[in-house]
């Protein structure tokens, strides 16, 4: 079908997570990320690779998502 007819029957785009939650989610992810990172720093050196990775990977994941939501956050419409 033509693009125009598809557009008319389509649903307006909505972000997967509502934009209102972005600042809150940013804060939560970054907090958990820093907690996990601090867990990593406490581990004695050379104890166990798997133990170190098990802190490093969740930490980096949380921090990664946290920074993304931080960039996307627009606090204008948030009600806090």
């Amino acid at each position: 079908m033509t693009g125009l007819s598809d557009w008319e029957t389509g649903k307006p785009y909505e972000t997967p997570i509502s934009q209102v939650f972005f600042p809150l989610l940013a804060f939560l992810f970054l907090l958990s990320g820093f907690v996990a990172a601090s867990t990593f720093s406490v581990i004695k050196a050379k104890t166990s690779l798997i133990l170190e990775l098990s802190s490093a990977i969740p930490a980096s994941l949380s921090l990664g998502f946290g920074t993304l939501f931080l960039f996307m956050a627009k606090t204008k419409e948030m009600v806090v």
Partner: protein, 493 residues
């Protein structure tokens, strides 16, 4: 004797040339139609010449046909920006196609004859060195097919209109042809003082463009002001009515009739021409945002933006331009902006502005095909501005594929590429659409559809996470590397 031979050869050649041109010229168009009535309106109120022709055509052939030829003189066709044909009653748009005329193929039977032919005729050849037409150097013999005494060349370009149905013999059809031409008006005089009054010269045809016999026709010219310095007289009546000039009623006009229409009038408005426009559309799925940025080469004092607009900026090379004002109204947002300095004739101004709009207003998801479709105007053109060159760039999110572009008019050039920007790994899909000679009839919606899997949304946060994993890994490696030189005592507890 030689001159007699020459004359004979010339006559033979002329007749055969005429015969050939008969097949490819005015009567190249089969006379299947007859225009019972034609009303033409030439709108000169702006710097864009808009010619609207309302035609009532009757099928005088003995078969059902659905094609109609519409001619446009070559000098005008070079300035054609927009052509649209609609049926009057149903407002149905008909397809219009430009016709390619076959060039004359001149096969010379002997070298002598062709040399003599070259002596007497100025030939025009196309790229393949075939003879298209010729105008006589010495003889002013008008050829059998046209009343045009300037040349024997067909300086007319034809457009074929396809009706949505076949019309029976003697059946009538009424339709309207809307055309817009740019850079057709010449300032006359070319230079004036800063306080002088601007005058323009318009040269056209008193008769309407028709490849068929027309029973009756009228031409109405609309002028921007009542100050008309001069206008052509006519065999028919000319009625002057303040800002309007009515030429007509002309009866029984032959196909492709021509009578010069020359109007010299005052034009006090700005001749807005945007020499270059670049419009960037950037889609962000995470942010649910469509960023629009337009780089211009002119100005206007008032443009209406979509209602949900935010973060508007207006800058030029120096920086932010403060001669601007943004105000929100009920159904639209008005952004007033003025250039830093006033513009006189021949002056330029370069600037850019941009804003953000919610993506949901322009992009929709079609469930059955699983594709996203962006529906947005090609350009937001100021009403009477002409854009010489327009470049529209659409940046789709990373991971978009199967991209299809649909436009209601022809785009000069379409290229697909890659655009890299913040937090990109493979780069974003870039579409560049280029078009010249754009007027506000082109501010119609274009559709861009693409497939974008939701998993691609994770690409960005995961790339950031991967980057942040780096320091952790680095510290893990660092702790396992020996940095001391030689043996050292260590506590082993």
């Amino acid at each position: 004797m030689r001159s007699f031979c020459r004359l004979l050869a010339f006559l033979v050649l002329t007749i055969s040339l005429a015969y050939k041109t008969l097949a490819t010229n005015v009567t190249f168009v089969p006379q299947h139609w007859r225009n019972t009535n034609m009303l033409r309106t030439i709108d000169l109120t702006s710097s864009i010449v808009r010619e609207t022709t309302s035609v009532a055509a009757q099928n005088i052939h003995n078969e059902s046909i659905g094609e109609y030829y519409f001619p446009i003189p070559e000098q005008w066709d070079n300035h054609l920006s927009y052509i649209e044909v609609k049926e009057r009653k149903t407002k149905q748009t008909f397809e219009v196609e430009k016709v390619k005329i076959n060039p004359l193929k001149w096969v010379s039977h002997s070298n002598q004859l062709s040399r003599q032919f070259d002596d007497m005729f100025v030939m025009q050849r196309n790229e393949k060195n075939e003879i298209i037409c010729g105008s006589s150097k010495k003889f002013k013999l008008p050829l059998l097919h046209s009343n045009d005494t300037t040349s024997t060349c067909s300086r007319i370009r034809y457009y074929k209109i396809f009706f949505n149905r076949q019309l029976d013999p003697q059946e009538q059809i009424k339709f309207t042809i809307t055309t817009a031409f740019t850079h057709l008006l010449t300032p006359y005089p070319k230079e004036i003082t800063q306080t002088g009054r601007q005058q323009l010269l318009f040269q056209g045809n008193q008769y309407g463009n028709s490849a068929y016999q027309t029973d009756q026709q009228k031409t109405n010219v609309k002028l921007p002001s009542a100050d008309i310095i001069s206008y052509s007289q006519s065999k028919g009546n000319v009625i002057r009515n303040q800002k309007n000039l009515d030429y007509g009623r002309f009866n029984e006009t032959k196909p492709n009739s021509y009578e010069e229409l020359r109007i010299h009038y005052e034009f006090q408005q700005n001749m807005l021409t945007v020499t270059g426009l670049r419009r960037d559309l950037e889609i962000s799925h995470w942010g649910g945002n469509l960023a629009v940025e337009e780089h211009f080469n002119l100005t206007h004092d008032g443009a209406s933006l979509p209602i949900h607009v935010s973060d508007v900026y207006y800058r030029d090379e120096i920086g932010n331009v403060s001669t601007s004002n943004l105000r929100y109204e009920q159904d639209k947002t008005i952004f007033d902006f003025k250039p830093r300095y006033p513009l006189f004739g021949g002056w330029n101004y370069t600037w850019y502005y941009g804003y953000n709009v919610p993506l949901g207003d322009f992009v929709r998801y079609h469930y059955e095909s699983g594709r996203y479709i962006l529906n947005i105007p090609f350009v937001n053109v100021f009403p009477q501005a002409i854009h010489d060159k327009v470049q529209v760039r659409i940046i789709l999110p990373e991971g978009a594929s199967n991209v299809k572009v649909e436009t209601p008019f022809v785009i000069d050039k379409e290229t697909h590429g890659v655009h890299k920007t913040y937090l990109d790994t493979i780069g974003r899909y870039l579409i560049v659409l280029e078009k010249s000679n754009v007027v506000n009839d082109h501010s119609k919606n274009i559709q861009i559809s693409y497939t974008y899997s939701s998993l691609e949304l994770l690409r960005k946060p995961l790339s950031v996470s991967l980057f942040l994993l780096g320091p952790f890994l680095l510290s893990m490696i660092y702790s396992r590397i020996e940095f001391s030189i030689g043996k050292s005592k260590r506590k082993t507890s």
